[in-house]
């Protein structure tokens, strides 16, 4: 495919979603990736599709719509990526004031919540430590297998007339008179008037190739995987501290644990955040803290064996909001990146915003909070710090 209508760079779930939504809008789409499908952050994710961890605001609006689009995407391409509305349970050990206040506000913005007292909390999660007094149930929180999702979505794109080229590293982005015209890659040159940057942690590097810039940096996260066990954890369960953590920009290491069971019977323990560069080393102290927090939520997990631990890099912007929209200076260059730990959940919603903007269709929300333009007002020093 030498002359596609649009080129999507990045075959993770964010790129796959944009490719599908453009394909369904009638575009001939070429997807390329420097590696294989799901070889970046998508391949190191838990598959969280959460609304419970978002404060009322633009990201929550995006998350709610995106969550519904996930189920539409499943109808569109087939039930093959273990999408499940598992529900989230956020618990509070002592002071549940902040959690109850947040959930009340969320409910005013379209989030379904159910406040839980001690009895109903422990009915939902019978193995939860009895010391947890109360909590909130979020039935909309969902889960998928993100690597399979990206693979099936890209397969659908290819079957509908698109193309996918793997192991193609972008070496140059051609810009003429302020607009993109095409790219050069290790697998050949391609021209298109629309290029979508869905390269996650590499999105800043790619923007730079086009002479623009995006302040996106990687944040390291770890996930622990146990041996398969009896079903001890029925939902995504996390301490209410997690919500405070997500919005944090404190550079120090923080951990806050999300515990959940999977269809394979293993238990995933995740959500540590550490802002570092691309240092791939394992940090056993974080694993210990995650394990301690998981066993304090579920004491029965003390005897469960940890089999694996893996790390991934979450791409994030300084204001912790994703970057969705046309580049501030280069026409035809669109970004969908910087979704941090929420890329799986926000992928189809972000894709819809981009496709609707390209077509000039009405969008389901005002996308300006996610606009790449917002970094123009920041000084370059601030962007890079």
């Amino acid at each position: 495919m030498q002359n596609p209508d649009a080129i999507v760079i990045g075959a993770g779930i964010v790129g796959a979603s944009v490719a599908l939504s453009l394909t369904n809008a009638g575009f001939k789409v070429l997807v390329i990736d420097r590696g294989a499908v799901s070889s970046g952050t998508t391949g190191a994710g838990e598959g969280n599709i959460l609304v419970s961890d978002k404060d009322p605001g633009p990201e929550l609006t995006l998350a709610l719509r995106s969550r519904d689009l996930w189920f539409e995407m499943q109808e569109d391409v087939g039930d093959a990526f273990e999408l499940e509305a598992k529900g989230g349970v956020v618990v509070a050990r002592n002071d549940d004031g902040p959690l109850m206040k947040l959930s009340s506000e969320q409910s005013l913005h379209g989030v379904t919540i159910q406040k839980l007292d001690h009895a109903s909390l422990h009915e939902l999660e019978p193995y939860l430590d009895q010391r947890y007094q109360s909590g909130v149930f979020y039935p909309q929180d969902a889960q998928c297998q993100p690597m399979l999702a990206a693979a099936h979505v890209i397969r659908a794109v290819v079957r509908r007339g698109g193309a996918f080229i793997s192991q193609a590293k972008v070496t140059k982005i051609h810009v003429r008179e302020g607009a993109v015209t095409g790219i050069e890659t290790s697998q050949g040159s391609f021209s298109a008037p629309i290029i979508v940057n869905a390269t996650g942690t590499w999105a800043g590097e790619l923007a730079q190739m086009a002479g623009s810039h995006l302040p996106i940096a990687p944040r390291k996260g770890f996930i622990l995987v146990t041996e398969p066990t009896k079903k001890y954890v029925f939902h995504k369960v996390y301490d209410s501290d997690y919500v405070a953590n997500v919005a944090s920009s404190d550079a120090d290491l923080q951990t806050s644990t999300v515990v959940e069971g999977t269809r394979a019977g293993t238990i995933l323990i995740g959500a540590s955040r550490e802002r570092v560069g691309f240092d791939g080393s394992m940090n056993y102290e974080i694993l210990r803290r995650l394990a301690a927090q998981a066993t304090s939520l579920f004491p029965i997990l003390r005897d469960v064996q940890l089999l694996r631990a893996y790390r991934g890099f979450r791409p994030y912007a300084p204001d912790h909001l994703p970057v969705i929209g046309e580049d501030a200076t280069v026409k035809g260059l669109w970004h969908s990146a910087g979704h941090e730990g929420a890329g799986i959940g926000l992928a189809p919603g972000s894709a819809a915003l981009i496709t609707d903007a390209i077509l000039g269709r009405e969008q389901f929300m005002d996308p300006s909070p996610f606009s790449p333009q917002r970094f123009l007002s920041m000084g370059i020093e601030k962007v890079l710090s």
């Binding site: 499908v37 397969r155 056993y284 102290e285 394990a291 301690a292 998981a294 997990l301 064996q305 694996r308």
Partner: protein, 445 residues
């Protein structure tokens, strides 16, 4: 202080050599007694030239500066300033030790290749059959087929026969003609003729006939199908034989255990036979300062090579001089080890043995069909993506058994040879051995 991890031939030789100048040594191993898998030790060691083992055992137990930490499983190693902290599990507790220097001698395990029935009861590796015999005195079955490739099949078959098993077939997949390319290696290591003679006599005594160019191509309900194969391991049709047997012990050489060196960050390379190993210098130093590696993890070579590598590592780590004759001995043994790799290669034809329903990853029960689909339908191009799509290699053994096979199957399906980078990445396992969440969390600072 020097911590030696692994008490097989390489680790014992390293500990003994390092203790000669009084260096303090902690020797950590997961078994109750020293000896490792090859010299699995129940008070005495049987087999060819086992006197060497006994000598080493007595030197280790009498050396005052060596502390043997037995039944200890290392699950992680951390760097703390100039020290290495080795975290291990022992008797249901987590403990740790620190030292300035590490010698890793973590050995190897049998390589399995999938064929229909390889995952059924009664099918095992020669190493497992030998471990049951030497470790707990249990005979795996009355009638046993020993098959696969490599000289290790000989001690296993004769050892089982000496203990009363009937060896109903001994099948070597390669042809002995390959040795014609490596006569120099035999001439440099004349002791090997004596070893061959020793096993030849035992085979004669137990009336075991060694057949070449054959492999067990399937196994079910007490019958093994033995097929003729060509030099690429493709089955020649119409030439097969059914052998009634309780057990098939099938092994395809060895894979080094790279986990701990990988955690420490030691550089790896791909050996001439496609096996991922650690890169070391002439004194067994790894790429990480103050970490030495000896034995199978630096290239499969058997006990003889492991002993001299261990001794050199021990001398180097304790700052003792290494004589030129020791260096020459290592080179001589390496030449023999390379001859073994040339004489017992694994042909790609094995990839045609599994049927669509044959399990490739036993822990997660992933079949050949699922791996094929992950490539043809979902676009997997390497073992990592195939693994993410199918869960192959994500179970209890962490891909130790299947990950190389999955890489090579995916390479075969995509017509791309497996890259060195992929071979090296697939050995990355930050949790070397399972640890309970309770113990893990209790250790937090």
């Amino acid at each position: 202080m020097i911590i030696v991890i692994g008490a097989g031939p390489a680790g014992l030789a390293a500990a003994e050599a390092a203790s000669r100048n009084g260096s303090d040594i902690a020797l950590i191993d997961s078994s109750p007694r020293v000896g490792g898998q090859y010299w699995r030790n129940r008070g005495t060691v049987k087999g060819y030239r086992s006197g060497r083992a006994d000598q080493l055992f007595s030197k280790i137990s009498s050396a005052k500066s060596i502390t043997h930490i037995s039944e200890a499983t290392v699950w992680s190693i951390e760097k703390e300033g100039d020290l290495f902290r080795v975290n291990y599990l022992q008797g249901g507790e987590e403990s740790s030790l620190t030292a300035e220097k590490l010698i890793l001698a973590t050995g190897a395990y049998d390589r399995s290749l999938p064929f229909p029935g390889w995952d059924k009861p009664g099918s095992m590796t020669p190493g497992a059959a030998q471990a049951m015999l030497k470790g707990s005195g249990v005979l795996v079955g009355k009638r046993v087929v020993v098959a696969g490739t490599g000289p290790f099949l000989l001690p296993v078959a004769t050892g089982l026969a000496e203990s009363g098993a009937e060896i109903v077939g001994l099948y070597e997949a390669n042809s002995p003609i390959r040795w014609l390319l490596s006569l120099h290696a035999l001439l440099l290591n004349p002791g090997k003729f004596a070893e061959l003679f020793y096993y030849g006599n035992l085979l004669k005594r137990f009336k075991i006939s060694l057949k070449f160019n054959r492999a067990v191509s399937s196994f079910a309900d007490g019958s093994a199908t033995v097929s003729h194969i060509n030099s690429h391991f493709m089955v020649k049709s119409q030439r097969e034989k059914i052998v009634h047997t309780d057990v098939v012990a099938v092994g395809w050489g060895f894979l080094p255990d790279l986990t701990l060196g990988g955690i420490v960050g030691c550089a790896q390379r791909v050996d001439s036979d496609g096996t991922t190993i650690f890169a070391v210098d002439g004194e067994q130093r790894s790429s990480v300062e103050n970490v030495w590696i000896a034995g199978e993890a630096t290239g499969i070579g058997g006990a003889d090579l492991s002993l001299i590598e261990g001794e050199i590592a021990g001398l180097s780590a304790s700052s003792q001089s290494i004589s030129p004759s020791k260096r020459f001995t290592r080179i001589r043994k390496e030449i023999f080890a390379n001859a073994l790799k040339r004489s017992y290669p694994i042909g790609d034809g094995w990839q045609s043995w599994p049927q669509e329903s044959t399990t490739i990853c036993r822990c997660e029960e992933v079949t050949m069909h699922e791996i094929r689909e992950s490539v043809t339908e979902l676009g997997a191009e390497d073992s990592r993506t195939a693994k993410l799509f199918t869960r192959a290699g994500m179970g209890l053994c962490q891909g130790r058994v299947c990950s190389r096979n999955v890489s090579e199957i995916v390479g075969g399906l995509t017509h791309c040879s497996v890259t060195d980078g992929e071979r090296i990445a697939s050995s990355n396992r930050p949790i070397a051995s399972p640890i309970s969440l309770g113990l893990l969390g209790d250790g937090k600072k």
